[in-house]
């Protein structure tokens, strides 16, 4: 077995890995904000959150 064999498939450069990580963190933060927003509005509106007249 040759341990130093190059891995198969696409190998990301360091810059690509870093930018992908930053993008992932930004998406996680945005989803977190969305969750907190829904929670906060539910707390503010109480049962009225279910009343959505169109």
């Amino acid at each position: 077995m040759d341990d130093k064999r190059k891995p198969d498939g696409i190998v990301l450069t360091e810059a690509q890995q870093k930018s992908r990580r930053r993008r992932s963190i930004a998406i996680a933060l945005a989803l977190g904000v969305l969750v907190v927003l829904f929670f906060a509005v539910t707390m503010v509106k109480g049962p009225a959150v279910l009343q959505r007249p169109i």
């Binding site: 696409i10 990301l12 930018s19 992908r20 927003l37 829904f38 509005v41 503010v44 959505r52």
Partner: protein
């Protein structure tokens, strides 16, 4: 042989190096800041108490919706953006973000902003936000911008809607006051953008965008700027004698409007050389101050009344 090479290129996946900053640039942060500000004023002048959490949600959704519009605009216009010096540094022409990535980003943000505003705050506001995004992307960007010199006149409606969306979010209905704010921004848009187009007309001509100075020439544009400024000043002052906004607003509007008129007359008078360029740049810069100050006056009056109710 060339076919094989071409296929080899096609099969190589592109790995993005786009950073968070590139995606933020897609949102057109400067346009977004004006949208946030005008929407905030729409929310403040609404005659109802809005819970701060709902107010924050409203402004956030409108801001994200505006950002989505910007991203979708850049997705559609990447070909002409690359030809204009003002826009050549945007993420798609620079090769930082691909068009499909921008499209996916814009559609995702548009969907979430509209649905969140509808579910959490008000469906009329959500529907108006959806219409605003649709109007900016489909009506203005796709249909009008490359077709008619009246592109920014009609398209200006999209930029004028945020305070209406905010008012609808606060009250669940529509009224005269937000429509007055709509009209002010609507009539402010042509002098503002035509002033920009006058000193960027080479850019627009190179990209084949039929802005008024490119199609009708600079002199006709100067006359149109002056005429629209007169209408703007009248529309902006009118809410005072009509009794919708008070004297503080009215006098501020008169003073700011006088400034706009003087600068628009200068743009009309000076047609050659550095003097003409200076006059155009001054009008463009002052038009931003004008709109900001006009809306800030309305906001400050509301804040002042909240702090000292006797003022109102």
């Amino acid at each position: 042989m060339s076919v094989v090479d071409h296929n080899a290129i096609e099969l190589t996946p592109r790995i993005s190096e786009a950073d968070v900053g590139d995606y933020i640039a897609l949102l057109k942060p400067r346009v977004m800041s004006l949208v946030i500000f005008t929407a905030l004023v729409g929310l403040l002048i609404a005659p109802v108490h809005v819970h701060p959490v709902l107010a924050f949600t409203t402004i956030l959704c409108i801001a994200v919706g505006a950002g989505a519009s910007g991203a979708l605009n850049m997705w559609y216009e990447s070909d002409i953006d690359a030809l204009m010096s003002r826009t050549a540094n945007r993420p798609i022409p620079r090769g930082r973000i691909t068009r499909p990535e921008a499209l996916a980003f814009g559609v995702t943000l548009a969907f979430f902003s509209v649905m969140t505003l509808g579910i959490l705050v008000d469906w009329l506001a959500g529907a108006l936000l959806a219409f605003t995004i649709f109007f900016y992307v489909v009506v203005y960007t796709m249909a009008l911008k490359r077709w008619t010199a009246q592109n920014i006149v009609i398209g200006g409606a999209a930029g004028a809607l945020p305070p209406v969306v905010a008012w609808a979010a606060a009250t669940g209905s529509l009224s005269i006051e937000p429509l007055l704010l709509f009209l002010i921004i609507f009539f402010w848009t042509p002098p503002h953008f035509w002033a920009l187009a006058l000193f960027r007309s080479d850019d627009y001509a190179r990209a084949g965008v039929p802005m008024l100075p490119v199609i009708a020439g600079p002199d006709a544009t100067r006359l149109q700027i002056l005429l629209y400024t007169v209408v703007l000043v009248v529309v902006a002052v009118a809410p005072w004698p009509l009794g919708y906004f008070d004297a503080v607003y009215g006098i501020t509007s008169l003073m700011l409007g006088s400034g706009m008129l003087v600068l628009a007359v200068n743009v009309y008078r000076y047609r050659q050389g550095s003097q003409a360029l200076r006059a155009t740049r001054k009008l463009f810069a002052f038009s931003i101050v004008y709109l900001f100050a006009l809306f800030a006056t309305l906001a400050l009056e509301v804040v002042a009344r909240a702090i000292a109710p006797s003022i109102g």
